[in-house]
């Protein structure tokens, strides 16, 4: 590694070490003894169900002191001068809570607060503190509310990933894919965590939906890029999903009937804490059975389900214990021809045991034991000749994180994440084992991250992450740094840099995710790495509006992907299975968000450029992947017509996707192996042409009411692609015609859906 790189590492780590007593001078003189100051800490929860609130704000009115709750809903206000204050607790969608306190010298106060939910769409939020939502608006970070997920029009059913795809910088490969393509990265470049546990293939129904059940989810945070040192292992981004803890005060639930699937969730208290159980299952069997009576080629078996469960133990004041469990499976058996069958069977299972412990009122620790398994067992049976694959990843890991807040202007976070992964792949044809590969790898990563506010206007977040994989003996260092400058109380300038390494690669198809398989680094297959540079500006000067502009550039090196021309992997050296390449992406994103009033929503625009280069492909030139889109615009709005009726609309526009235009053709006329005379295209620059622009309008109308006095109910009437725009997906070529016949494969036509949900 170049010397300059180490020099840079040393420089930025040393430069960010705070000087002694670096609390902001406006809060007191340096001479004033810190011992005489006070600390306020506690958890912020939802008053109706006791859920901890992630990213809630605490503000000491009349000062600049403030804090934000972490992912456990915990906050600390540190080194406050003794005195009498009014504390304001706030959270989007909740009523503000005010608390008057009076503290003597050296006192500490444990203050757990419960916020009452309020109709945030109607509520007038007054932004008075520059610390408000500070964490949520960190560079590269975006959050999406569960209300948005369930209210925006969605294809057949509400979906987390489909909602995330509306954010600037996030793209979908097609109407049929819930995969996340973020800032020029493919789906494998996003680390997906559910309750701190890695989920390897979060998709159902060939990839049309994500596995996350919106009923079970409490919080979704997306780090689109330049993410901090506390995360690692992916080149691009992090999606951090937390399930609900369950209602701590009363038993309740939700039942939702939809056209594709139905959901049920129950939550409530028990003696020592709370629980939550959410189940979702496809409900297509009756439709398929009816179709099977009159149609050929209908699957014999076609279902998916998922179960989320969580149990919390709140017995102790300074300790929280939770156990979260997820399992999801898709199964398909499709006799697509006489004496032929396609079988799909894949799913994920995760388990996390999480212990949160307050070492002191300003030292927060979190320990998590995680287990994650992804299995995929596709099979083809053609005339009695069977191809079978068994691919499994088992990942058992332990995480420990500590958050130490020695002063209000300085926080330090650190942690380790170690584990053991086992990857197994077995390919067999006609009961002959073709490929049998087992890769076990022990991995360890550790990080240190410090957040320093040397002055009112400045904030630095620096970190260093070290990762080690036993397979291939790879040790890598990832420095990260971000800084903020508060130009005014409403405007923040932000910049960030980070280096990222990725030790695994996804074998996937943009057409269908049911065959997804992960592959790891090993001897001859070094980890991919890349640098990200991001700069942005956030503005809240207009009451109720939020404006965000971010620009990014990132490069990607040592990308390793399965060679798409690989015919049979049996007996091949592991490194020979891959093609190696590089890439880069740049762009800028604009987000204008309106949070208040009857009309809420956002407009997101992205200008982007993504390129890839693989040796031996496209004459080793850079070319745009299919998901590269120069312009991408999403307009999402919800109008609350009354307390019962609401209306939502989503309009999307994007530059047409890249495709390869065939230039020439020829044919093999003397094929020595069979009767076929294969036709071939010749091409020039790969993906140099664009399909027509993509655009679509989705509408949703909701009516709230009651269900026989038992609970609240909601009807949702939705239409996807209301003007039935036939957006092309790709061109197909039929050589049975001469000249070759070109036709379009289209994306989704108009799809009306209806759902009924009861909350009790």
């Amino acid at each position: 590694m170049p010397k300059a790189y180490y020099l840079f590492l040393s420089f930025f780590l040393l430069s960010s070490i705070p000087v002694s007593g670096a609390d902001n001078p406006s809060h007191g003189t340096r001479e004033e003894s810190l011992l005489n100051r006070v600390t306020i800490n506690g958890f912020i929860r939802d008053a109706e169900n006791g859920e901890t609130l992630i990213g809630a704000n605490v503000f000491l009115m009349g000062t600049d002191w403030g804090a934000v709750t972490n992912t456990s809903g915990y906050y600390v206000l540190r080194n406050i001068p003794a005195g009498t204050y009014t504390l304001r607790f706030s959270y989007m969608g909740y009523e503000n809570h005010f608390e008057d306190i009076s503290l003597g010298e050296g006192e500490s106060l444990r203050l757990d607060i419960q916020l009452k939910p309020g109709g945030y769409t109607l509520q007038e939020l007054v932004i008075t503190s520059k610390r408000e939502q500070e964490e949520r608006q960190n560079i590269g970070r975006a959050s999406i509310s569960t209300e948005l997920i369930t209210s925006v029009p969605a294809v057949l059913q509400a979906d987390v990933f489909r909602s995330i795809q509306l954010l600037p910088g996030v793209k979908a490969a097609s109407d049929f894919s819930s995969g996340l393509y973020i800032r020029g990265g493919g789906p494998d470049q996003t680390l997906i965590l559910l309750d701190r546990t890695t989920v390897y293939n979060p998709s159902h129904f060939f990839g049309l939906f994500s596995t996350f059940n919106p009923d079970a989810i409490k919080d979704v945070s997306l780090y689109k890029g330049a993410y901090p040192a506390m995360f690692g292992g992916r080149l691009g981004s992090v999606l951090d999903v937390h399930n609900k803890d369950g209602n701590r005060y009363r038993t309740g639930g939700t039942v939702s009937l939809g056209m594709l699937s139905s959901r049920a969730m129950i939550e409530g208290p028990y003696g020592g804490g709370s629980y939550m159980l959410a189940v979702r299952r496809s409900t297509m069997e009756p439709v398929l059975a009816a179709l099977r009576a009159s149609q050929d080629n209908i699957p014999d078996t076609f279902y998916f389900y998922d179960i989320n469960a969580k149990v919390n133990v709140d017995h102790w004041e300074n300790n929280l214990l939770s156990v979260a469990f997820y399992t999801g499976t898709d199964k398909v058996s499709f006799p697509f021809a006489e004496d032929a069958n396609l079988g799909l069977f894949y799913g994920n299972r995760t388990l996390s045991i999480n212990w949160t412990h307050l070492l002191s009122n300003h030292t927060f620790t979190n320990f998590t034991l995680t287990g994650s398994e992804y299995f995929n067992e596709p099979s083809f049976d053609l005339a009695g000749s069977t191809f079978e694959r068994e691919s499994t990843i088992r990942d058992l890991s332990f995480k420990a994180d500590i958050e130490w807040i020695p002063s209000q202007s300085y926080e330090i976070l650190g942690g380790i994440w170690g584990g053991h992964k086992v990857f197994e792949l077995k390919d067999s044809f006609d009961e002959n084992m073709g490929m049998e590969e087992t890769i076990t790898s022990t991995y360890m990563s550790t990080y240190i991250q410090q957040i320093w506010r040397p002055a009112i206007r400045w904030k630095f977040n620096t970190g260093l992450r070290a990762s080690y994989y036993t397979n291939g003996d790879y040790f890598r260092l990832d420095p990260r740094i971000s800084m903020e400058y508060f130009l005014t109380s409403e405007t923040r300038l932000q910049a960030a840099f980070g280096r990222y390494h990725q030790f695994l690669s996804l074998l996937t198809s943009e057409t269908i995710s049911a065959f997804d398989m992960w592959l790891f680094t090993d001897d001859g297959v070094p980890p991919a790495y890349g640098d990200q540079y991001t700069a942005g500006i956030k503005n809240t000067s207009l009451t109720g509006y939020f404006l965000e502009v971010e620009a990014y550039y990132r490069n990607m090196r040592n990308l390793f992907e399965i060679d798409p021309f690989l015919s049979d992997a049996a007996g091949m050296e592991y490194a020979d299975l891959f093609r190696f390449g590089k890439g880069y992406a740049s762009g800028f994103e604009v987000l204008i968000q309106k949070n208040t009033g009857r009309l809420t929503g956002f407009i997101g625009y992205t200008w982007g450029l993504t390129r890839r280069n693989f040796e031996g492909f496209n004459d080793s030139r850079y070319y745009p992947p299919k998901y590269d889109r120069t312009h991408d615009l999403n307009w999402v709005s919800t109008y609350q017509m009354s307390s019962r009726w609401s209306f939502s609309a989503v309009f999307s526009y994007a530059t047409g996707q890249a495709y390869t235009k065939p230039l020439g053709r020829t044919a093999i006329v003397n094929n020595p192996f069979d009767n076929n005379t294969p036709n071939m295209f010749t091409v020039g620059r790969v993906n140099a042409k664009r399909l027509p622009p993509y655009h679509r309008l989705d509408l949703s109308l909701s009516r709230k009411g009651t269900f026989f006095g038992i609970g609240e109910a909601e009807w949702q009437f939705q239409a996807i692609n209301v003007y039935s725009r036939r957006n092309p997906w790709f061109y197909t070529y039929d050589f049975d015609y001469n000249p070759v016949r070109v036709s379009k494969a289209h994306m989704l036509p108009i799809i009306p859906t209806i759902s009924y949900t009861v909350h009790f």
């Binding site: 004496d339 000749s385 002959n432 020439g664 042409k689």
Partner: protein
Amino acid sequence: MTTFRLLFFLMACFFLGTITACELYKQDDYVEQYVVESYLIAHEELPLLLLSTTSSAHELFDFSQRVVSGGEVLIHRYGTTGVRDTTYRYMEERPGLYLPQGSDTDLVLPRHTYRLEITLPQDDHHKIYAETVVPDTFSIVETVRSRTVYQSENRLEFNITANQGHRQNYYIFSTEALEPSPYNMTPFWEDVEDNYQDAIITSTEITNEASFTANDDGTLNLVVPWIAFAFYGPSKITAYSIDDNTYDFFRSLPFHIGDGGSLLSPGEIQNVIYHVEGGIGIFGSMSSVEAEVYLDRPAEP
């Protein structure tokens, strides 16, 4: 409003910067290319060679209109030591079809390198080169079973020698029905093939040597998959061990039409892998063995 002015100034700067800095990636135009097709089979006579050109992708394609006449075709043979020992001159038998001149008795030698050299005087002496190393031969040492009932427990099996080389062998299996008729097709093929004549000769995808079971004596146990049989009755099975050119060409061939059926994105088309300098196509080689088998129709349930 100062903030907004700054904001929009930054946006404008960045936008202009990215637009002006972006590379040009424009669609290139069609360029006609020469196409070569020839396959050398060990211990068989030197093969014919077809020389043609591509046509524009969306024009009517008529191979007879694309053939190239007047080419000067030579194939040089190099021994296992790398020394050129023979040169074969090809003559144009009919437009675009070239045959070796006066070397009827010369057979293709395994483990030898053959280098194709074509000169096109009418095109400013344009040169086309390609080279192949002919795979070593192999043989069937034992026919474990050559007749059985379709989809029964008893499979058609052979033990073949594993030829020696610098890498594992890649095989393609071809099955030719010797008594084809639309009334004796196997169920799968009857369902998927509209014209039975298109299924008379079928072939498998490339299969690596490591996919077969190695016997203790070093031979490979080949179990013929049922999918290889489109017809009941007698069939001839040919196993080809292919060279690098044929391997690269046929492994990349199925994925060149951008239908999303591979790991490439739908709509992305990559050129087939050619090892031809000055043109495209294939100058490949292989060794082969043949066996006749018989497949009985299972009894009606």
